[in-house]
């Protein structure tokens, strides 16, 4: 236990040093921060945006059909946006390190993901048969490497309540502790534990209900 605490303290000090250096424009320090957190942010964004379609001429990744982008492209776009915001706030002195960098980073990321989800829901979806068939072929809920179980899980995630889904994504995709999530969303740890437990139970129930649906989609 003592060694775990020492390790945690050492990593916190190392992070503080990196943030200090990055705020002064140190590229190497900034690269280290990006390497530490970029994929976690990407996974969280991918989980939410993978099931929605993006519109616009800016998405040039694979699976782009008539302007509709794949989940990976959208998640990367959001991740880049998040780190641009973090970088400018660090360099501008708007963040003071108090051991809460992760909570702050993922709060920014979660807000960006929510904004993107809202923005996409406002866009009109195509109804002509050609575009619809192209979209359904190219942009599936998950990727082609997903197993049946993983696909069912993704589908079940889309049917969770927003508040439950956020706790799951912050806990698993972002890799935050319940204490960090509590600081981020300003709710008691007990509430979050209960919500997480309820969300897992819901996912289990939904997954057991969805095999027929997946059979139709295949």
């Amino acid at each position: 236990m003592q060694s775990t605490q020492d390790e945690a303290q050492d990593s916190a000090l190392a992070l503080a040093a990196l943030l200090q250096a990055a705020s002064k424009g140190d590229e190497q320090a900034w690269r280290s921060i990006v390497d530490l957190y970029a994929r976690r942010v990407f996974a969280m964004a991918r989980s939410r945006l993978g099931g929605l379609r993006a519109e616009g001429p800016f998405f040039r990744g694979s699976g782009n059909v008539g302007g509709w982008a794949s989940g990976n492209d959208a998640a990367e776009e959001v991740t880049q946006s998040v780190f641009c915001t973090i970088a400018s706030k660090l360099a501008g002195g708007e963040y003071t390190e108090k051991g809460r960098f992760e909570s702050w980073l993922f709060r920014v990321a979660m807000n960006r993901v929510r904004d993107e989800v809202r923005r996409r829901k406002r866009h009109a979806t195509p109804t002509d048969p050609e575009t619809l068939s192209g979209v359904s072929a190219a942009a599936s809920v998950g990727s082609s490497t997903d197993t049946d179980e993983i696909s069912r899980l993704r589908l079940a995630m889309e049917n969770l309540m927003d508040s439950d889904r956020e706790v799951v994504e912050l806990r698993h995709h972002a890799g935050l502790s319940f204490k960090q999530i509590s600081e981020m969303v300003d709710e008691p740890v007990g509430t979050l534990l209960a919500r997480h437990h309820r969300a897992l139970k819901k996912l289990k129930d939904l997954m057991s209900e969805t095999p027929d649906i997946l059979g139709e989609r295949a």
Binding site: W30, V34, R40, E76, L90, I150, V168
Partner: protein, 207 residues
């Protein structure tokens, strides 16, 4: 109340927890797949995109401080130039010769309008306000005096007319006392006296 065997209940709870652990494990697998789905160049692209923001702020701050420094230097240079020009001007200013041969350089007089002084402007404003106040007061007192004079004049004329009217009646042989005069005669007397006063005020001949 449930009649379920406590052992069955415990087994059900354990089974539920096991299922939830399985879901949690599946979630972790999903997360690992999602994190791995980004290609090798992903971090490099994120770094490149965000570095511009990092550098831009730092560079902007450096530019701002450099610009401020330049402005300060330019202001200093300009001030120096003005001081130099003024001192040269004074050096070549006309001088006043006095009897013992010494000369005193004339200080150039700054030609300023008398009205540029705050004190002068305040004094003029106060004088104007006084003049207006006096004018208004005078006008109101004259009006009052005029009104008072009119009332006094009429009162004096009425007294005069009353006395003359009595004399007139006496002269006409109507020396009846006030007690014997009727209301009608009082009314006609008053009407006559009023007309008399009007005539006097207008400057016409008495009836």
């Amino acid at each position: 109340m449930s009649n379920e065997n406590p052992n069955n209940l415990r087994e059900r709870e354990e089974r539920l927890e096991k299922d939830l652990d399985a879901v949690s494990g599946l979630l972790d697998r999903l997360v690992a797949m999602d994190r791995a789905s980004a290609d090798e160049e992903f971090e490099h692209r994120v770094f490149g995109a965000s570095l511009a923001g990092l550098k831009q702020v730092v560079q902007t701050e450096a530019l701002v401080s450099a610009a401020a420094q330049q402005d300060a230097q330019a202001a200093d240079a300009e001030l120096e130039q003005r001081v130099h020009a003024t001192s040269v001007e004074r050096l070549h200013a006309p001088t006043l010769r006095i009897s013992d041969g010494d000369s005193i350089p004339l200080r150039p007089v700054a030609r300023r309008s008398i009205f540029s002084s705050w004190h002068v402007r305040s004094a003029m404003a106060a004088m104007f306000a006084c003049a207006v106040t006096v004018g208004i007061w005078k006008a109101s007192t004259q009006n009052t005096a005029r009104t008072s004079r009119s009332a006094a004049t009429i009162e004096s004329l009425r007294t005069h007319v009353d006395r003359d009217f009595d004399l007139l009646l006496t002269a006409l042989g109507d020396s009846s006392s006030t007690a014997s005069r009727t209301a009608d005669s009082d009314s006609s007397d008053a009407e006559f006296k009023a007309e008399w006063i009007d005539d006097m005020l207008e400057g016409g001949a008495s009836s």
